[in-house]
């Protein structure tokens, strides 16, 4: 199979686009489509400071790399979950983020769950009635928003891809979670203490982000989080992969079709947000779910309340690999 642009040997064929590309032509195509999605949904401009939530995985690290390649002001934000697993999952994933921070010459903000909450994720799971993924999601959303506000970033970007979004949509439709459906969109605008959140990779498949990471030699953690194994999302992805294999483009049509009718669910998102009486972060109750979680964990562990959260910032390299080499000029 030959690259459609230059006729060299292709490395990827994307049936949904009927497009084959080689290792040289793939990254420019990928970056052009990232830029197109950013502009389509008015995610941010080159005047904005972007905080990229990085996990050490292929999607978030590729996103950070792509945004820097496109000339955006993008720093990384890593949450150390304290998961050891079989091979030191959190430590390895943090190393992958630090390596890319150094290569890009950008800041990496690091926050440690054990220091902030009083216990790492595995202990939080044991100390509370919450599933690990549930506690982890709550803590990640809280820290991302809080630090984006405190460090004056304009927008939070996450590496969610087409497969993630379609699997979540599938789950939300199966369970008719109208509140979640109302908030499922590539851009969630800033409101009442919540920073703007965007998903620039929403139209890329997992295979496309993986190939971008491999072509650009981005070292990422390949191991799955030990708590994700057997997660329902994975079984939904398997079903959707089968559908996509039989009819390429199915996932994209499902997602875009939903975006066109999502206004039907807007009412379900009409909850009023007020500042948490303890931490000041937006919540629908008097005390936010994060503060209640921290209180519960600390009471179970017999700890005194913790002081204000602190964020460590990694040393940034003196020069980015993209310095002076932006592929696109001008604001989005």
């Amino acid at each position: 199979m030959k690259c459609r642009k230059c006729l060299k040997k292709a490395i990827i064929y994307m049936p949904e686009h009927r497009l084959a590309l080689c290792s040289t032509c793939y990254s420019p195509w990928f970056l052009e489509h990232t830029e197109r999605t950013i502009r389509k949904f008015k995610m941010f401009s080159r005047r904005d400071r972007v905080l990229v939530a990085v996990s050490g995985g292929k999607d978030s690290l590729s996103l950070w790399h792509a945004l820097c390649a496109l000339g955006y002001e993008a720093d990384g934000f890593y949450i150390d979950l304290g998961i050891v697993g079989r091979d030191g999952y959190s430590e390895h994933s943090k190393q992958r983020c630090q390596e890319l921070a150094e290569r890009l010459g950008r800041r990496l903000h690091i926050v440690r769950v054990a220091e902030q909450v009083g216990a790492p994720i595995p202990q939080i799971k044991d100390l509370t009635a919450r599933e690990a993924c549930s506690a982890c999601g709550l803590i990640k959303r809280y820290f991302m928003n809080r630090y984006a506000l405190e460090a004056a970033y304009d927008v939070i970007a996450t590496g969610h891809n087409l497969d993630d979004e379609v699997a979540v949509l599938f789950s939300n439709v199966l369970n008719w979670n109208r509140g979640y459906l109302a908030r499922q969109y590539p851009v969630l605008d800033e409101r009442e203490g919540l920073k703007k959140k965007v998903k620039p990779f929403v139209y890329f498949t997992e295979k496309q982000t993986t190939v971008y990471a491999l072509v650009n030699r981005i070292a990422y953690i390949r191991d799955e989080c030990p708590y994700a194994l057997g997660a329902t999302t994975l079984s939904y992805k398997a079903i959707l992969a089968q559908l996509e294999h039989q009819a390429p483009g199915t996932k994209r049509r499902f997602l875009d079709g939903f975006y066109r009718i999502r206004a039907l669910f807007a009412e379900a998102d009409a909850m009023e947000l007020t500042p948490c009486s303890r931490c000041g972060q937006p919540t629908t109750t008097d005390i936010c779910a994060y503060c209640r979680l921290v209180e519960h964990v600390q009471r179970r562990r017999g700890l005194v309340p913790l002081s204000e959260p602190q964020v460590a910032v990694s040393e940034a390299a003196s020069r980015s690999e993209f310095e002076g080499s932006s592929l696109f000029d001008g604001g989005a």
């Binding site: 199979m1 292709a10 490395i11 990827i12 064929y13 084959a20 290792s23 995985g57 292929k58 999607d59 993924c133 549930s134 999601g137 969610h160 497969d163 993630d164 699997a167 979540v168 789950s171 939300n172 369970n175 979670n177 979640y180 498949t205 997992e206 295979k207 982000t209 993986t210 190939v211 491999l214 072509v215 390949r222 799955e224 989080c225 708590y227 994700a228 194994l229 997660a231 329902t232 999302t233 994975l234 992805k237 398997a238 992969a241 089968q242 996509e244 294999h245």
Partner: protein, 65 residues
């Protein structure tokens, strides 16, 4: 041909196309990137008996709906 897929390893004595290998293993092409001797290849490529092949899983999960 040696084939690695996560923690599993396979060995095949005959040449075959990538597409045939994936079918033998029951793997959908959308869920892996196929790397032959450190080079990413498409499904129509031939894999020779002396090749080292790695199937890199692309699916990640555990995201709360």
């Amino acid at each position: 041909m040696k084939v690695r897929y996560g923690q599993q390893e396979y060995e095949f004595a005959e040449r075959m196309r990538v597409r045939a290998l994936l079918e033998k293993l029951g793997i959908l092409p959308e869920t892996v990137v196929v790397v032959r001797n450190d080079e990413i290849v498409t499904e129509d490529e031939w894999l020779e008996v002396e090749d080292d092949v790695e199937l890199i899983r692309v699916v990640s999960g555990g995201i709360r709906a």
